[in-house]
Amino acid sequence: MDPKHVIICRCSDVTLADLIALFEQGYQTFEELKRIKRVGMGPCQANTCGKMVQWEISKYFNQPLEEVPFHNMRPLTMGIKLKEIMEAKNREE
């Protein structure tokens, strides 16, 4: 299949062709890729594309999959409305 038509990250609309273009320019780690292309930075926080990105890095750079660092996970694990956070806090007080 044409890498241009393989969607890796649905949230940020990143294709396999985009990833390969970045690999060719020398961006090699998940942390670098996500900062240039926002891959894995959308609402799902790489829950969908994370493994695929790791896999593609592994394939392109001939690096064993278990040695490809996963991206830095940060809170929150799911989106919550700011207002709901405020209301929850108000209820506690």
Partner: protein, 383 residues
């Protein structure tokens, strides 16, 4: 790895990359940038990337203004193949009381005198600019239409690529462990991947700049502290300018990509290198933003993180050499606003290193300005 260089820059944030680019652009050769992780892994990739000229201290105003002039043309000057996403829709600074309004008056007078097109607004005028602003607890505001926002990753990438084309060498995932000095002459930089002989070292290590100074026995009067920030899901455009308030302790911006980023400071934050996230920040941020900008409260937070402000005694940067050690230069102490100043950081330090006439006087940016002196003008317009 190279074992010799004419210039070694420590730090691959916006400052290190801008300094590398301007040095190379002035014709300097054999420049190496060393970054312990990846480019933008420090404060640069964690920042709000707001671009503001409305400052209370003269040097900050001047540096920011001249930097904006560069950013307006950066895409072309740096011949970047990506998009630095410069959005110039202003900063709306809102104040809470008459006292703050008096400060606004003084600041705007200074800004106008320096050619910055800021103006004072009534709260009703502020509401015209951001219609959903809750003005119940707002007294007055100021606005500068040429302030804005950039994408910190692609802006750094633009400097990086331009510098690389001019021959600069970048070593990422390489840490500087020591700097060897003999008889007040810099000999070499010791890294995790080998030594580099050099006579010139540039400390652009952000939150870690004090430790780099210690390697050569220079005490830089800076400290670091964690500042937290969050981002929401991307939504259709709803807010043009950055909304910021010093008294309400908030800044909140919608990026061109659609996500909102916002932050506030914790006055009790201890000094140190910790960058962890806290639920206390999330609670306080949610409350502050929902009160001031109610519709933003409807958005989902998707991520929060922390980053380091590197604080100087007067909250203005240190862009300087030092008489104590020729060949040692520094760009640090940006006190939470070093992203927006990067073009001038790069130009001024490159001029100083290469012995060129400075674009603007630099005494008030020197390390020596703190020697045994009281801090006279301290920047107070900070979140």
């Amino acid at each position: 790895m190279k074992n010799k260089a004419d210039y070694v820059i420590i730090g691959g944030g916006i400052s290190g990359c801008a300094i590398a680019y301007h040095l190379a652009d002035f014709g300097a050769k054999n420049i190496v940038v060393i970054e312990k992780e990846y480019l933008t892994s420090g404060a640069t990739g964690r920042c709000g990337a707001g671009i503001r000229q409305q400052w209370g201290a003269k040097m900050n105003c001047l540096l920011a203004k001249k930097s904006v002039e560069f950013f307006e043309k950066a895409q072309e000057i740096l011949a970047y193949d990506g998009d630095i996403e410069f959005k110039q829709e202003g900063y709306l600074i809102v104040g809470s009381d008459q006292e703050e309004d008096m400060v606004f008056k003084t600041n705007v007078a200074l800004q106008n005198a320096l050619g910055i097109p800021a103006k004072r607004l009534t709260k009703e005028e502020a509401k015209q600019i951001v219609p959903y602003l809750n003005i119940d607890n707002v007294y007055s505001a100021t606005f500068c239409p040429t302030d804005g926002h950039l994408n910190p990753f692609t802006t750094t990438d633009a400097y990086y690529k331009a510098a690389k084309r001019l021959g600069v060498t970048f070593y990422t995932y390489t840490e500087v462990k020591d700097i060897v000095v003999k008889d007040s002459v810099i000999q070499k930089v010791v890294t995790t991947r080998g030594d580099i002989e050099t006579g010139v070292v540039i400390n652009a290590a952000g939150g870690w700049s004090k430790a780099i100074g210690q390697m050569v026995g220079i005490d830089i009067p800076v400290y670091s502290e964690n500042h937290e920030i969050l981002v929401t899901e991307p939504v259709e455009k709803m807010q043009g300018p950055m909304v910021i308030s010093f008294s309400k302790n908030i800044y909140c911006q919608q990026t061109p990509h659609g996500a909102f980023i916002m932050g506030r400071s914790d006055p009790d934050m201890p000094e140190g290198l910790d960058v962890s996230s806290s639920h206390q920040f999330l609670d306080a941020m949610a409350k502050t933003v929902t009160e001031l900008l109610p519709p933003v409260g409807e958005l989902r937070v998707i991520r929060q993180w922390g980053g380091l402000y590197n604080m100087s005694p007067d909250h203005q940067p240190i862009i300087s050499g030092t008489k104590k050690l020729p060949g040692f230069y520094m760009a640090c102490g940006f006190s939470g606003h070093g992203f927006m100043l990067a073009p001038m950081t790069g130009v001024l330090l490159a001029e100083l290193i290469l012995g060129k006439a400075p674009t603007m006087p630099m005494e008030e940016l020197s390390l020596e300005r703190f020697d045994g002196k009281q801090v006279i003008t301290k920047e107070k317009s900070v979140v």
